[in-house]
Symmetry: C2
């Protein structure tokens, strides 16, 4: 994409109310725009990142054998009569519709997915079933904060699994952990499985995925004896500062998975005949990961004083091609032609390029924007590089700069993409 | 995908409250599931169709030079103070949030996109700008009906364009018409541009895109003298049944585009310096097309007494591979092996296949499901076809059946895909 065509611009100053690196940097670079506290528009660069994260999540969920659906955001109230949660989910938005109808806005979807799957499952032979969706969720947060980390409207992948027995559930639950860790690794996040309280549905532990980082507001406790990782909920209060027993790290929660036992299948009277013909209870699990929260977390972890540092897998574009301006018209023509050729050459081999072709913008401003936007590979074409028939190559994670011949550059980038 | 893995099932009977072919067929075939009137879950087969339509729309919008964003569904009330529309949009859902905050749910997005684009446009040189999103919209319809045609929650692509002068707006408006017609053609719909009243913002006509079909609830009027197509709004009431003057056809509206003049740019004080330094008003247009409504319309137009008939471009899978059962174990093994090879062979060349591998399901039930689901090409492997080392080839739009050698079938399907 040509940067001259991109309708967004970077801004010099941080927004006054940005309370976190992700809110500040994503806004300054023109990835997101805040509409209200906890409510953001994804601009072209930001939407590309969000979509890439969603696709990584989708691939890992598909590999797990889960099937994608899309449930509505409007949930009729009567569904919550079955589970008695209408007044218990404290962050639920509620609204009135025509004809006295009452709805909530989706903050979770057990009340929708359970009767949905029940419709199609008649026997233990139809199990297991795992369905997921990637949908916007809503939470009436009293205090939204930290940019994409705690929003009122945010993207969520929620997966629900249904099993005829406990062993099958546990098998899937462990595979889901692995799929989740795959997602984080692919997104450039180093997450650990963290035991957490089971919440209201089970005496088992649930599990969170936590990324250790000084930017985090959560804490993980790593038992120095056993190596087990736990969140604060399940540590005795007197041990909260016990650094002899635990290695304590600041962290960000980037996902969680819960055993639901039969809480929802019972509420919706979902039983099926088992192998012996007797009716069996259906055991469920739920598994959540927020693509928008993952996006914010990546920025929290991967940034420096100059801007964001995107991993290749989720960067809006892999390459930022900068054409520097020259006052000499003939030189400018050579720069423009070499840039155009390189832009086309990279696109032809499937490399996504943002081409800073803006005329009359100073080199300093182009370099500053490139660092702020943080694409993994910066290529510069200028009067100086053309003396050697070359392009300047600089990766965002490194300070090294090299000249690569114009005749080799497409092949070099192509090889780098595969790394 | 193996049909044995698909968690949905077809159902024999139409749902009691299905009031239209699209609601009935999409539900019976397991593409959608109604949660409440006008509120549907997209099941795996249906979501694949919806996503394909969205991608066609996305490609045509990108080709138009528009840039994709994603705006929030929660709209703070104060935005509507600027336009005085809070109490004027009669189908708007409104809700109360924590701390006395009031929101509406997105039914349109002028109040969000205008201040958003204003942030980045400082001069006529930054224009034109065209931004779009594909987002779920909400309408508090007193009477939702006709399946995906009039829902309370539905998918919408809304595009907004911003121009420094009228000529530039008109140029874009005409190009948008062409892009819209491309979308419909690619989705297997034969739509016509239909003049409609301009609504409240302009004295110009707006334009609808109408698909002539007996299943429609709208009407288009084709002026027998001039050939101009109009909707009923702009026909004098005394001419509503004048078939001498007009050819009158039933139709479904599948999109509309509106000149907005300066209605919203004025409300949000969006003016920029023009080429001569004088401040100019910004002229806007808006352009809507609902992927879910398009999906419903395709079913209304393309079906027969046995089920749906999907165009290749939007079918959930291009090919339905049916393996018929045999009571002879050795024959069954040969059927299974030939089917598995063909399934893999087609996937290897990028053909999307739904493989009806369900054991113990009768041929009649498999044929019935295939007709109901309506994939474009049905391939059958049975004891009979294997006598000739062949596969039975039948397209959903034809009654012809041919045998194609197993050794040729992948190449034949690959060639058919390109047709």
């Amino acid at each position: 994409m040509k940067q001259s065509h991109l309708f967004t611009k970077t801004r010099k100053d941080a927004p006054a109310d940005a309370d976190s690196p992700n809110a500040r940097l994503l806004t300054q670079a023109g990835f997101i725009s805040q509409l209200a506290a906890g409510i953001y528009t994804y601009l072209p660069l930001g939407l590309r990142v969000l979509d890439k994260i969603k696709n990584i999540v989708r691939e890992e969920m598909d590999a797990l054998g889960a099937q994608e659906v899309l449930m509505p955001a409007l949930h009729p109230k009567h569904l919550y009569d079955s589970t008695d949660r209408w007044d218990k989910i404290d962050v639920m938005f509620k609204l009135d519709g025509a004809g006295g109808k009452k709805y909530s806005l989706s903050s979770t979807a057990e009340e929708v997915v359970t009767p949905l799957v029940k419709e199609f499952v008649n026997s233990y032979k139809d199990l297991p079933v795992a369905v997921y969706q990637i949908q916007d969720k809503f939470r009436n947060e009293p205090r939204a904060k930290s940019g994409l980390l705690r929003g009122r409207e945010f993207s969520m992948k929620d997966l629900y699994s249904f099993h005829a027995d406990e062993a099958d559930f546990l098998d899937f639950y462990e595979k889901a952990k692995v799929a989740y860790l795959n997602v984080y690794t692919r997104c450039g996040l180093d997450a650990v499985v963290t035991a957490a309280s089971g919440g209201v549905f089970t005496e088992k532990h649930s599990h969170e995925f936590q990324v250790a980082t000084d930017a985090g507001e959560d804490h993980i406790y790593i038992d120095r004896a056993s190596g087990e990782v736990m969140n604060r909920e399940i540590i005795p209060e007197e041990d909260w500062k016990n650094e002899e027993k635990y290695e304590i790290k600041k962290s960000i929660e980037v996902g969680n998975i819960f055993p639901l036992e039969c809480r929802f299948s019972e509420a919706f009277k979902m039983k099926v005949p088992g192998a012996d013909g007797k009716m069996v209870d259906i055991i469920m699990g739920c598994y959540g990961i927020g693509p928008s929260r993952v996006m914010g977390s990546i920025v929290e972890v991967h940034n420096d004083e100059r801007g964001m540092i995107w991993p290749k897998s989720v960067a809006p574009f892999a390459v930022h091609l900068l054409s520097l301006s020259s006052k000499d018209e003939e030189v400018q023509n050579r720069i423009d032609n070499a840039s155009e050729d390189l832009y086309q050459g990279l696109k032809d081999v499937g490399v996504e390029v943002l081409w800073d072709d803006r005329p009359g913008v100073s080199p300093g401003a182009k370099f500053g924007d490139a660092d702020l936007i943080g694409l993994p590979l910066r290529l510069v074409i200028s009067q100086k590089t053309l003396v050697d028939d070359s392009v300047e190559w600089k990766e965002r994670t490194s300070t090294d700069m090299n000249l690569v011949k114009l005749s080799d550059i497409v092949a070099s980038v192509d090889a780098w993409m595969e790394e």
